[in-house]
């Protein structure tokens, strides 16, 4: 089995997938902590569906897929953020409208032009074969930007996530930080979509964060733990998908599910130990 894993990395497309995947996993895990805590998890899911619509239209117009998808998804992320802040339209309903709406547009465009081919299938469920050199470079740039911004604004992102009113009252520009978070989320979703598929990419955002919140008690440890969990699950998923010729995106998500249950069990165990210590 070990030599199979070694053999796996002799294929250039596997190495590409690994590099890209690790970067995407790292960034989405960091952003995910904020998104989950701010109750914005569904925004990630909504954005990936918008991404599918945009990719379908780009294919129909013969344009570069990412060049179309990135601006469209960023615009959608602003819209969703604005909607979730306004009390007049209920945020979750708005997300459902936008995500199913753009999925429908995408499906319509696909059926009127190319029909359901492999490209479309890959947009929905992801593929590590469809990624080019250019994609890897783009992922590298986007992740570098996200990581840098994240480190630089870490304390402010914490303040805005924990208590937006307090942050605004003491002079932080909470709206700006929300917008930064929205743009970064949009970018990572578009970039990660190629590999994970638009239906599965939001799991990379939500799962690691929720998993690490089971056991970690400080914000910093949640961040670090979720980055590690996300990366480990991605690599494991990639290896499993290679060994068993399974779909990559789904394998990664299954690894994340396993990690979630493992952490839940650990937390339960710790609670039980603590309560038995107390009773002694």
């Amino acid at each position: 089995m070990f030599h199979l894993i070694l053999e796996m990395f002799t294929y250039p497309f596997m190495v590409r997938a690994l590099c890209m995947g690790v970067l995407v996993a790292l960034c989405s895990a960091l952003l995910g902590v904020t998104l989950v805590l701010k109750r914005y998890s569904m925004i990630g899911d909504g954005l990936s569906h918008v991404g599918f619509g945009a990719l379908a239209i780009a294919t129909a117009m013969n344009a570069a897929p990412l060049a179309v998808a990135i601006p469209v998804v960023i615009a959608a992320s602003f819209l969703l953020l604005r909607l979730s802040e306004s009390s007049k339209i209920k945020g979750d309903a708005a997300i459902a409208l936008i995500s199913t709406g753009s999925l429908a547009v995408g499906v319509m465009v696909v059926s009127m032009t190319t029909g359901m081919n492999t490209d479309v299938y890959n947009y929905l469920f992801g593929s590590i074969l469809s990624m080019s050199e250019g994609d890897v470079v783009l992922t590298g740039v986007v992740s570098a930007v996200i990581l840098a911004l994240f480190v630089f604004f870490y304390n402010r992102i914490f303040a805005v996530t924990f208590d937006e009113t307090f942050a605004r009252a003491t002079g932080l520009n909470a709206r700006l930080y929300n917008m930064v978070i929205a743009v970064l989320t949009a970018l990572i979703i578009v970039v990660g979509m190629r590999m994970m598929g638009s239906l599965l990419i939001s799991s990379l955002v939500v799962f690691p964060a929720v998993t690490s919140m089971r056991t970690c008690i400080t914000f910093r440890s949640v961040m670090i733990c979720s980055a590690i969990v996300s990366t480990v699950c991605l690599v494991t998923g990639l290896v499993i998908s290679y060994l068993y010729a399974a779909p990559t995106g789904a394998s990664i998500v299954l690894c994340n599910i396993a990690a979630f249950f493992l952490f839940t069990a650990l937390q339960k165990l710790r609670e039980r130990l603590q309560s038995s210590e107390k009773s002694l």
């Binding site: 701010k38 304390n155 914490f158 009252a169 970690c216």
Partner: protein, 289 residues
């Protein structure tokens, strides 16, 4: 010059004026309590003082070397915070951000300030505990420490004892009094607990019917019409207590005096008379709504 002065201040939502004719001054070292029933505009005024809402008329002037954004704020807890994974230290430190400009990381000065404030509020031993695992009173102390980190002069407290049990409530009030008298920090407290307000505050601002009903020292307030209108409601409680003493209900889950809001005190007395404490509490909730 006063620390904060409001001249003819008014606030409006979508063109509808909700609060007008506010004239008051806050001096260094004051303990001002903003009283009023729900919907009287307390939160609006608070947002105005914090600079989160623009007044529709008049203005807020900061004197001395106090600037807007230098008010330490203790907000009411949000649902997001209930299961937030963060250590006490992280939460308190986040209060220091306001004075840091564009500097990304906390320096020694910020860490010392946070440590000092944690020490003052007796939460140093909780520093590495998770915020979500603390009791309500401990959480309020943490948020108070954070508010102190964000200011050198003024803190604004939004219903600091909401949801706390009676003993913790008394401790919280004592703590706030200490912050005012020992640390010399001006306190502005939004509350509807008239009892505590008159016990601890030096000045009272009473809001009602979308305007200012009273502003002045606590001593003057006791002789004012606004105070007596509140105390009329107090009679209801008095009658209710008498009724309780006569027919003690089996479940003695009655709310202690301090936890009863004036809104509830204003509940019609005769109805309350024959009901059990639970029912009385129910009416309290309904009135609050």
């Amino acid at each position: 010059m006063s620390l904060i002065s409001c001249d003819n201040l008014a606030f409006a939502y979508d063109g509808v004026t909700v609060l007008h004719g506010l004239n008051f001054k806050i001096e260094q070292g004051d303990y001002l309590c903003i009283l009023g029933e729900n919907g009287a505009g307390k939160s609006t005024l608070m947002k105005g003082l914090l600079g989160l809402k623009k007044p529709s008329a008049g203005n807020v002037t900061f004197g001395g070397d106090l600037r807007a954004r230098e008010i330490g704020y203790l907000p009411q807890q949000t649902p997001v915070q209930k299961d937030f994974p963060a250590s006490v230290r992280e939460v308190v430190l986040s209060g220091c951000l306001s004075g840091m400009g564009m500097r990304p990381f906390f320096g020694k000065a910020e860490k010392e300030r946070a440590a000092r404030n944690m020490e003052a509020l007796e939460i140093t031993d909780l520093a590495d505990r998770c915020y979500r695992d603390l009791s309500g009173g401990q959480q309020q102390r943490v948020l108070l420490a954070r508010a102190l980190c964000a200011t050198k002069k003024v803190i604004l407290l939004d219903e600091p004892v909401a949801g706390l049990d009676p003993l913790v409530t008394i401790n919280m009030y004592k703590l706030i009094e200490r912050i005012n008298s020992e640390m010399g920090i001006t306190v502005i407290m939004v509350s509807h607990d008239v009892q505590a307000a008159t016990n601890y505050a030096s000045h009272i601002l009473h809001l009602g019917e979308d305007r200012q009903l009273f502003f002045g020292t606590c001593g003057d307030y006791r002789h004012s019409a606004a105070y007596h209108s509140f105390m009329d409601g107090g009679k209801a409680v008095h009658i209710w207590k008498k009724a309780q003493a006569k027919n003690p209900a089996p479940a003695a889950g009655a709310a202690p005096e301090k936890a009863i809001s004036p809104a509830a005190e204003a509940a019609p007395a005769p109805e309350v008379k024959n009901e059990s404490p639970e029912a009385a509490q129910k009416t309290e909730k309904e009135v609050r709504k």
